[in-house]
Structures are given as structure tokens and as C-alpha cells.
């Protein structure tokens, strides 16, 4: 028993950043993210005896995600669309309208991600920021791999159009404004 704490710390410390990043993106605030991570660590510690080794990052992130969703339901009920896989199919313009982009402004991208609904946001965070494979995300979010794939695809499409709408896309030729009209 005296070693449990240090073993636990060895297990979670490398992924504290990942846990915080996910919580921060899901809750939107630093203080809330800290609360969620703290609560997650307490839960993880409690369940640590039943953790049989393996992927500690996925294990910790699963708990963080669950804790964050509970927190969101309690504190940001309006933000939650649903926890179901059946999300409303947003009407998005046809892909052929996409114009080639060269670079993206981080600030604008940040806002666009924050504007995504939480189900889409989490797959972007876990895949694009955290670098997890579809399979790992499927396990963490408890959804089929195909759902991970389609959510990511729709999330990126949405990001693209949010950026296009707010005219934040840094076009290759800045003087080509005439071309678009």
C-alpha cells in the first residue's frame, strides 16, 4: 500500500499535460479544467488497483473525458447537445466550393475549434492535438471507429467553413478579393 501513491504518480505524471489539455478544451476555462483534472485524478487513484497496466494515457484520458462530461452536464447543460452517436446532420456547403488555403491563423483556428460542439471538439483534440489513432479514440470515447472517422471528417469540414465565413483564411494571393465576388 505505501507504494500505491508513487506508482500512481509514475503512471499519470507523464500524461498530466494530456489530461489538462483535454479538460481545458472540453470545459473552456483554466480553473474548470483544473477542477476536472483534480477530480479525475482522485477517481483514477481510487480505481488504480483495478488498472492492469497497458496504455496509461488512454486510461487516464478516458477518466478525464468522463469526468469532464459529468462536469459539463452539471455546469453547462446548455452546451451539451447529446451524448448519442446520432448527431444532427448539419447542412454544409458542397466541397467543391473549397478554395485552396496555404496557412491558417492559430488564433482563428483556436476560436473555430472552441466553437465546435463538444463531440466534434473532443475528436479533434484527441486526434489532431494529442496524436491518438482512431482506434485509441474509439476506446476512449466508447464509440465505433467509423464514428470517430465521420466525426473527424465533419469536424474539419466545419472548421474549414467557420474559418471561411469569418474570412480568416489566409489566401495565397491577398489581392485576389475580386476573384471571389
Amino acid at each position: 500500500m505505501p507504494n500505491k501513491r508513487s506508482q500512481f504518480e509514475n503512471t499519470v505524471t507523464p500524461y498530466l499535460g494530456a489530461a489538462y489539455n483535454l479538460a481545458r478544451w472540453l470545459t473552456g476555462e483554466d480553473a474548470d479544467a483544473q477542477d476536472v483534472v483534480q477530480e479525475s485524478l482522485l477517481r483514477a487513484f481510487k480505481f488504480f488497483d483495478s488498472f492492469r497496466g497497458g496504455d496509461s494515457r488512454a486510461w487516464l484520458l478516458t477518466i478525464v473525458r468522463h469526468t469532464a462530461y459529468t462536469w459539463l452536464r452539471q455546469n453547462r447543460a446548455g452546451m451539451m447537445v447529446s451524448l448519442d452517436d446520432e448527431l444532427p446532420n448539419e447542412a454544409l456547403p458542397d466541397d467543391t466550393e473549397e478554395q485552396l488555403i496555404q496557412t491558417l491563423d492559430h488564433q482563428a483556428l483556436h476560436q473555430a475549434i472552441a466553437a465546435l460542439s463538444v463531440e466534434f471538439r473532443e475528436v479533434v483534440i484527441l486526434h489532431d492535438l494529442e496524436g491518438l489513432a482512431y482506434k485509441e479514440i474509439a476506446a476512449i470515447a466508447n464509440i465505433p471507429i467509423g464514428t470517430v472517422m465521420s466525426r473527424l471528417a465533419r469536424a474539419r469540414k466545419r472548421l474549414y467553413y467557420t474559418l471561411a465565413q469569418t474570412q480568416q483564411l489566409d489566401r495565397p494571393r491577398t489581392e485576389s478579393g475580386k476573384q471571389q465576388t
Binding site: 500500500m1 500512481f8 504518480e9 505524471t13 483544473q34 487513484f45 496557412t103
Partner: protein
């Protein structure tokens, strides 16, 4: 594959989550379609932009420390708060040290997917060169014909050596793309086996001994030498591919 199918899969394709066969047919589509490449390019730009450090929220060391300190002391339940604080302080110092070490470990781990992606690209390129009717752009066993052919196609001059005398005749050269950069691909033969040797400049890396990988029954050898990266791929036996790599390395010196 038609545009609709490709667009459904374009994200998974960009993320390297598709099997080789599907990936290749998307790639073929992208080569001929007028509209889809723009979408693919946009996904690549977005993927790269999303990797930006600015988007990743990192807790400050103080926050990390505090988070770990909040854990219950399993063996000291009920101990007065002040004592716990003192214990936590020492623990905090320990964790800072731990962070430095694990930080390095995590950074190393994060480096893996990028290499994996490169391995997949190199392998796909090799298989594609065998499958499609596009093994060589310039067919010649004469190194003095193959080498100048690359002039003006890429901005560096790959070393081209014929190893016919040693059992690895030069078949020709080809311009290929790896991770959207043009690279020189030299094709050698040993009996009926073909070897693709990919070369591209990387000035900032030190020379390394060959690293070895096996994927889908193909052997891959990669090394760093004279400010260039070399990848040799073949279904040749491992020993023979090693011999080939050694021959290349020696002839270059």
C-alpha cells in the same frame, strides 16, 4: 473510386488511417481529379496547423504540482493537514524532477508517429512503383545518364552508382514524392528482386548507422550520410539488402 467516395475518406486518408490498397486508389484519384486535390491540400494544411504548439494547453509546473498534491495520501489517511502540506512540498520537488525525465520520454514517444508515417510513405511508394507501370522515368544502367537526368527536377544531385559488378545492376531512376516532397528514387535489381533507393537532402542531421524495419514482408533500411537521408526498400532477403546498403555506403566514400 469517384469523388464522393474519395471525399468521404479524404480525412482518414490524410490521417494515414486507411489500408494500403484504399490509400493507393485514393492517391490515383487525386492524380487525375480536378477538384479533389484542393480538398486534400486543405486537409493537409489544417492538419499541420492543428499541430501548432499554441493550440495545446499545458498546465504550468505549479498547477501540475498542485494537482498531484491533491491526491489522498494512501498511507497517511487522517494525518493533520499541516503535515500533509510538508510531505507534499517534498513530493512536489520530486515531481519536478520526474517531469524533466518524463518530458523527455514523452517527447520521444511523440516522435514515433511521424516516423511511422514516413515508413508507410516509403513502403507505399515502393509498392506503387512495382504495381503501376511507373518503375522508372529514365531507364538506364549507366550512372552518367541517370545522374544528369535529375538535374532541374530536384534541387540536389543524388549520388548515382552502378553496382552491376557486385550483383546489383542499376535499372534506372525516377522522380517520386514522399510526404509531398520530391525525392530521387534509384532502382536497382538483384536477380528478380527490385530495390528502391530513396535519397533526399537533410543537412542538419548527423550520420547514422542503418536502422532496420520490416513491414508487410518488405525490408526497409534507412540511414543518414553526407547530409542526405537514404531509404532502401525491397523484398530481398535482409542480408542481401544489408550488403546492398554497405556497398552504397562504401562507394560513396
Amino acid at each position: 473510386m469517384n469523388c464522393d467516395e474519395v471525399r468521404t475518406l479524404i480525412d482518414a486518408y490524410t490521417d494515414n488511417e486507411l489500408d494500403l490498397v484504399t490509400s493507393l486508389s485514393i492517391e490515383r484519384h487525386l492524380q487525375t481529379c480536378a477538384d479533389c486535390p484542393a480538398i486534400y491540400q486543405n486537409r493537409v494544411v489544417m492538419r499541420n496547423a492543428l499541430k501548432a504548439d499554441a493550440l495545446y494547453f499545458r498546465p504550468s509546473p505549479a498547477v501540475s504540482r498542485r494537482l498531484l498534491q491533491s491526491l489522498p495520501q494512501a498511507e497517511q489517511r487522517g494525518v493533520p493537514r499541516q503535515w500533509r502540506m510538508i510531505g507534499a512540498l517534498g513530493l512536489g520537488l520530486l515531481i519536478v524532477g520526474l517531469f524533466l525525465v518524463t518530458g523527455l520520454v514523452v517527447m520521444r514517444n511523440n516522435a514515433l508517429p511521424a516516423e511511422d508515417q514516413l515508413v508507410t510513405s516509403v513502403l507505399a511508394s515502393h509498392i506503387r512503383s512495382l504495381m503501376a507501370d511507373h518503375l522508372t522515368d529514365v531507364i538506364s544502367s549507366d550512372q552518367h545518364t541517370v545522374k544528369p537526368w535529375f538535374d532541374g527536377k530536384i534541387d540536389y544531385a543524388p549520388a548515382v552508382i552502378d553496382l552491376a559488378a557486385q550483383g546489383f545492376p542499376l535499372v534506372g531512376g525516377r522522380l517520386d514524392y514522399l510526404e509531398s516532397n520530391p525525392v530521387a528514387a534509384l532502382v536497382y535489381r538483384n536477380d528478380k528482386h527490385l530495390i528502391n533507393l530513396f535519397i533526399w537532402p537533410t543537412s542538419d542531421l548527423p550520420d547514422t548507422a542503418p536502422g532496420q524495419l520490416t513491414r508487410l514482408g518488405y525490408h526497409l533500411l534507412h540511414w543518414q550520410m553526407d547530409n542526405a537521408t537514404y531509404w532502401a526498400v525491397s523484398d530481398l532477403e535482409e542480408d542481401k539488402l544489408n550488403t546492398f546498403a554497405e556497398l552504397i555506403k562504401h562507394s560513396l566514400h
